[in-house]
Symmetry: C2
Subunit: 344 residues, 2 copies
């Protein structure tokens, strides 16, 4: 390993000068600088970031907290897309990504502790359970934190326009003629509340009275939970003409469950998803859904995080990223005997 001292020796100057030359300081003669840079390259010098971090208090490392309850973790398409965007944007700015976790090396350790060990410069959080004590602790710490899809006074947030998303989807269903719509909602967390709000808003605007049976509890991404939700709904005397699922995965499991019960989609029941991930496009017919702009979400989060850490500050600004309705083939106008139960 070649150090700045090696370069200093080779150039007949001091390590301080080398350091300055390498870091583009202005107070170094242009010629010496050239000479040093050339020599450094020649000798294959690579700066040691640990050493640098020790004296500058900057690690050029951004922590990323991506866990969800159903621990699909990185394998969830939505999260992996966001992660990819966070990563790309961070790299473009010269930062590396470090996953933050508890239980490192069999030792239990809080998220905050993990960040402190590694002296993470800032953190991006996009996990589902923001109410977790440790997540809260991290948000309240003095490490710059940016969250995705959560609202807290302590941190900056990038929000996907959830209310509008589900509002538009519901509105779309209504415009097709549906009135008996069920929203199978996911884990009871912040985004879910937001979405339920959007759902009710659309109903209200259409003057469709909201009743409790229009909401059915389900879970994000989980096969069984959505099959259960469908089973639950199919027990009713009067079936809805449309079902909105928590997300695209759920919608597809749901469609399969409906079909396995002899219900035709979309002829008997229309279905809508949420997220706009690739698989929605792979099934036939294409899933009607709301596309979240995962790339924007990730990029903005990364950028905001870097902006905060470079100014050594925290704030709680919110940035909202738009969503988009993707009409597919899983919806159609309800059959004429609208309002009546389709035959079982």
């Amino acid at each position: 390993m070649v150090t700045i001292y090696d370069i200093a020796n080779a150039c007949g100057c001091s390590s301080a000068t080398v350091s300055k030359a390498l870091n583009n300081y202005s107070d170094v003669n242009i010629n010496t600088k050239e000479r040093i840079l050339k020599k450094a390259k020649e000798m294959g010098f690579v700066p040691n970031l640990q050493a640098r971090a020790l004296s500058t208090k900057r690690t050029w490392n951004i922590g990323v907290l991506f866990e969800d309850k159903s621990n699909s973790g990185l394998t969830h398409y939505y999260f992996s897309q966001v992660l990819q965007a966070v990563k790309e944007q961070a790299e473009e700015k010269g930062y590396d990504i470090t996953f933050i976790s508890k239980n490192l090396g069999g030792v239990e350790m809080s998220y905050l502790e993990h960040c402190n060990r590694r002296n993470i410069d800032g953190v991006v959080i996009a996990c589902i359970d923001f109410e977790d004590q440790q997540v809260q602790q991290l948000m309240e710490s003095n490490i710059p934190v940016v969250v995705i899809d959560y609202d807290s006074e302590h941190v900056s947030a990038i929000m996907s326009d959830n209310v509008r998303g589900i509002y538009e989807l519901t509105h779309y269903m209504i415009s097709l003629g549906h009135r008996d719509i069920v929203y199978a909602y996911g884990h009871e967390v912040y985004v879910t509340e937001e979405r339920i709000r959007g759902f009710k808003k659309a109903l209200e605007e259409a003057k469709i009275p909201f009743t409790e049976d229009m909401l059915v509890k389900s879970r994000y991404s989980e096969k069984q939970a959505n099959i259960d939700a469908v089973t639950e709904i199919l027990k009713r005397d009067q079936l809805p003409t449309a079902i909105l699922f928590p997300d695209d995965y759920s919608a597809i499991w749901g469609i399969n469950a409906l079909r396995n019960n002899g219900i035709k989609v979309p002829e008997e029941i229309s279905v809508g998803g949420f997220d706009g991930v690739e698989i929605g496009e792979m099934i036939f017919p294409r899933l009607t859904t709301i596309r979240q702009n995962t790339t924007r979400l990730g990029k903005e989060a990364s950028l905001k995080c870097i902006q905060l850490l470079e100014s050594k500050s925290k704030d709680n600004t919110k940035i909202t990223v738009g969503v988009e309705l993707i009409p597919g083939g899983t919806c159609m106008a309800p059959r004429l005997l609208q309002g009546k139960s389709p035959r079982r």
Copy 2:
């Protein structure tokens, strides 16, 4: 931030003793040790890994190189599952993960340089293009490297049993009665060669003469490439009765393309995929495929990498991880007029 000096002061001992106590050295009085540990906890001490790394030359960081040509990167289900497993296993052993990339911060930088800046302890590579100069350079460096699904004299490898996988899939098709089978293969890289080998082996064993038109060039995961492959095949006078696609995504795009051309799957053409990712289960009927044990692959890679770096050595042992045939509904015995072209 509390340092070992703070603890030393508070305990009335030296920083050296604190360091020893904290690191479980045996040459420190059990009582002082207890006292130090207690105080450390009380004061909220968190070790600074940068500082530690500077003196120990161990960063407890494992680099991960996960890029693929179609740059689906982390969003590819197969890779994200492997990554998840690598990460979990690494964390269990106390290591963090760092993504290795070129072009950090707008500065172009080789993978090796990136590793050296961060003083990565070891690297796991699972990208598709192992022939890349920079990847080769990394493998030939003295950093411990473990690759997934590649064969090189310089590094240890975890191999998915590709030959057997495609062999079994082909064998299965043959056992159903198929003789006109086309293998639409992916990017021309090591694994692809292996798979083609497995394909030919199965044909040979069944005494089905191999002809060039049984191979069609396609690309992993890419929608258009697979649609093109299907289009290509459908131009033939005599259609195959079965098509094997490079992977599950490809198979699904392929099935859609076939259906859009009025071909019934599996009635007219049977289809097989590869990977065994979740979406295969989401379409109807379930995709016939070969499941790769992504979790094992990732875990083994992580473990091997840690074993190497802890012994400060490199070797080139190979570990093979088995695969599993998942029979689905996209295959059936070919129609009776076997060997004849299905009507177009």
